[in-house]
């Protein structure tokens, strides 16, 4: 049973979402404030966090950063109002894996939760056979779902890991943002391409890529991204 931590200040929304997710088979903990949510992170040990960005007291974005500081790999889904574009961008840069726009139907939220958990659990291509690919300083364990930079492990959030695995599975091939949205986030073709851009940015930072001339994840202007194997 996936364990979901829901951080939402409005009682009705919290109860409604909790009720629906529980009925869909999730184990659920609900927190009213960001502080409370960070507290529950240790005691509840969730598989995924659903975080409302509009919180009284500690802002949702700070909660997101606080969680990322504690756990680099924890999947975080932001719940936001449409039009809060600034918050979405900042939230994605703070490390959120995905976002939903309120009001959201339970099955849509559930689909996102499942998708983000799949990212954490499953690698594309053939699973089970241990295989480590090395590209210079970078080594990717496709079976063990681990990435190392100059021998030291790099902690990646599920979206970042899945993005890297998808790109590096076909070195040199250009993926459009829409393709990556579908392959990594399981969004529709017309989803928010900023998810991809923000995730590439986070990934490059974690891999210590020079921002001007990234070595591995390269931008192909007007088309998308590709993984350079050299």
């Amino acid at each position: 049973m996936p364990r979901v931590l829901l951080i939402e200040d409005d009682r009705a929304v919290r109860e409604g979402v909790a009720l629906a997710l529980r009925r869909l088979g999730h184990e659920l903990a609900a927190a009213e404030t960001g502080e409370d949510g960070l507290e529950r992170l240790r005691s509840f040990r969730p598989d995924v966090v659903v975080l409302d960005l509009m919180l009284p007291g500690m802002p949702g974005l700070d909660v997101c950063r606080g969680m990322r500081a504690q756990d680099q790999t924890l999947p975080i889904i932001m719940a936001t109002a449409r039009g809060d574009d600034e918050d979405i961008v900042v939230g994605l840069e703070a490390g959120a894996d995905d976002y939903v726009v309120k009001p959201v139907q339970a099955r849509v939220l559930e689909a996102r939760i499942r998708a983000v958990l799949r990212r954490a659990a499953q690698a594309p291509g053939e699973g089970g056979i241990p295989r480590i690919d090395t590209y210079g300083d970078l080594s990717i364990d496709r079976a063990g779902l681990a990435v190392a930079w100059q021998g030291a492990p790099v902690a990646l959030a599920p979206s970042e890991l899945r993005l890297l695995l998808t790109l590096s599975a076909s070195p040199g091939q250009v993926f459009s943002r829409q393709q990556l949205l579908e392959a990594v986030w399981e969004h529709s073709y017309h989803g928010d391409a900023r998810l991809v851009d923000a995730c590439v940015k986070r990934l490059r930072t974690k891999m210590g890529e020079p921002p001007r001339e990234p070595r591995y994840i390269q931008t192909v202007r007007g088309f998308g991204y590709r993984f350079a194997a050299r």
Binding site: A12, A20, R82, G83, P103, R177, D192, R194
Partner: protein, 521 residues
């Protein structure tokens, strides 16, 4: 308003206030100079001539009076000649010519002088009148004064005792000096007129500047107001009519600014109210939306009436959520907060995906270019909304089959006629062949759109028939479509096809370079 101003500015300067003032001042100056000159000239000329005439007559009479007593009656030819020469000597410069006549005898001071100046009328006048007679005679380009008098013997102090001697004296004096004097006068008047005219023009320019400066200030202030700078005010100087006008202008501008600010405030409040209402509705809707699936699932276990009620609540909650979402979207367009997230994509693929995501692929005939033949920088989410709204609208209100076409065209080629929701005025770009446009057409085979409805199809909540039943749409779909096209710098229009059915045409500028990207508002 702007057009009128431009027309005014286009009037030739010849008919401007400045030119008119200059012409008026110059005319007045010229008239004044001419009339003053003419009067002065006449008076001066008369007095100059009169004076010289008097002098001549006086001198002549004195000389005659001095010489006449020595002449015997009747005089001999020699005496007559002596008298003529003697009189002529009175003028030391020797310009006098004298003719003395006595009966058949005549002598001139200059020998063989024909003395043509003496006219028969003058001779007759001298014969009949005892007074001195004179006449001004012009022959050729020089004027002469001809004086005629009879020599009388003054026997007593009374006039009646004067006896004519029968000797008549005629004198011709050329008036060259007087002529030169008059000429000099004319020249002086002419010379004075030129500076007077120049002075008049200068004064006119000064006056024009004094009048034109406030007029010009008014003009530029009016233009500034027309361009939307309602805080424009004039500096009021003096207390003349123009200052009055400037003052009135300032008052009008202030009143205008106030009422516009009030209107804007009301509009902003109304928009903010709509945005706030949508925002406030969202939280309860979020709670309700979260549990609609629970209601749907359990409805089958309830008794039929409750189940119907529960399904109704669930279904309407979903619709309400969509309506609030659309309202929020419209509010953002109104607030200028709609942001474009541009990405270069294959437009045909985008359209195909839009239809597939809504399971419309089998309901719609598509005519799309091959993969990657038509790529453009668009906001994929907004393009999806545009296509989905137009196709959804065609499927609901138009007749099937519904067709979707996508092709590229270059600006300058005339497209279909129809009502346009927005007309973007884009500057000419230097690209060869004009701007590249992606054209998306959604055609249905229904009855078409009534002509009375056509201009309003992109209006919010517009219902062609007041009694029309509520449909699936929020009533904002086409308005949102139009706004989404507009933020891309494109156009959308609705029209009826001659062969029947309606056609919605979207034209989007195809931007492929990074420089034209950015956010719309």
């Amino acid at each position: 308003m702007r057009g009128a101003l431009k027309m005014r500015a286009g009037v030739p300067q010849l008919r401007g206030l400045r030119m008119r003032l200059i012409v008026a001042f110059a005319l007045v100056a010229a008239l004044a100079a001419a009339s003053t000159g003419a009067l002065t000239f006449r008076e001066a000329r008369t007095s100059v001539l009169q004076q010289s005439q008097d002098t001549v007559i006086k001198l002549l009479r004195t000389q005659v009076d001095r010489l006449a007593p020595d002449i015997g009656i009747p005089p001999g030819e020699a005496e007559v000649r002596r008298l003529a020469a003697g009189i002529a000597e009175a003028e030391p410069a020797g310009t006098w010519r004298v003719l003395v006549v006595y009966g058949g005898l005549s002598a001139t001071s200059v020998p063989d002088d024909p003395f043509e100046e003496v006219t028969p009328e003058l001779r007759r006048a001298v014969d009949t009148s005892p007074a001195t007679v004179f006449q001004r005679v012009t022959s050729g380009d020089h004027t002469s004064l001809v004086v005629g008098m009879s020599v009388v013997y003054d026997l007593s102090a009374t006039d009646s005792a004067r006896i004519p001697s029968g000797i008549k004296v005629f004198l011709t004096v050329p008036q060259t000096r007087e002529g030169a004097y008059v000429d000099a006068l004319v020249a002086a008047v002419q010379r004075a007129t030129v500076p007077a005219l120049a002075l008049a023009v200068l004064l006119a320019l000064l006056a024009a500047r004094g009048v034109l400066r406030p007029v010009r200030a008014l003009r530029s202030a009016t233009r500034s107001i027309a361009e939307g700078r309602l805080d424009t005010r004039l500096a009021v100087q003096g207390s003349d009519e123009l200052a009055d006008l400037s003052h009135t202008f300032n008052e009008t501008a202030a009143a205008l600014e106030e009422s516009v600010a009030e209107l804007r405030g009301m509009e902003a409040r109304a928009r903010r109210f709509a945005a706030d209402v949508s925002h406030e509705l969202r939280t309860p809707l979020a709670a309700m939306s979260a549990v609609t699936d629970v209601l749907d699932e359990d409805a089958s276990h309830l008794d039929p009436d409750t189940a119907t009620a529960v399904r109704l609540i669930s279904g309407e909650t979903v619709k309400l959520a969509r309506l609030v979402d659309d309202l929020m979207e419209i509010s953002r367009f109104d607030a200028g907060a709609a942001v474009l997230h541009l990405d270069e994509i294959d437009l045909a693929e985008s359209l195909r995906r839009t239809l597939a995501a809504r399971a419309w692929t089998d309901l719609v005939d598509v005519a799309l270019p091959p993969p990657d033949a038509l790529r453009g920088r668009v906001d994929p989410r907004r393009l999806d909304v545009v296509v989905a709204n137009l196709v959804g609208n065609a499927l609901r209100h138009g007749g099937r089959p519904v067709r979707v076409r996508l092709y590229e065209r270059h600006e300058g080629y005339e497209g279909h006629e129809g009502y346009e929701s927005h007309k973007e005025h884009r500057g000419d770009r230097g690209d060869e062949g004009g701007e590249r446009l992606a054209v998306i057409e959604v055609l249905d085979s229904g009855p078409g759109i009534p002509a009375s409805v056509l201009p309003h199809v992109f209006e919010r909540f517009y219902k062609s028939d007041a009694a029309r039943t509520r449909t699936e749409g929020s009533g904002l779909g086409l308005a949102i479509t139009a706004e989404n096209v507009r933020v891309h710098g494109g156009t959308v229009r609705a029209a009826n096809r001659p062969e029947g059915g309606a056609v919605f045409t979207v034209e989007l500028p195809l931007r492929s370079d990074e420089s034209t990207g950015g956010s719309g508002s």
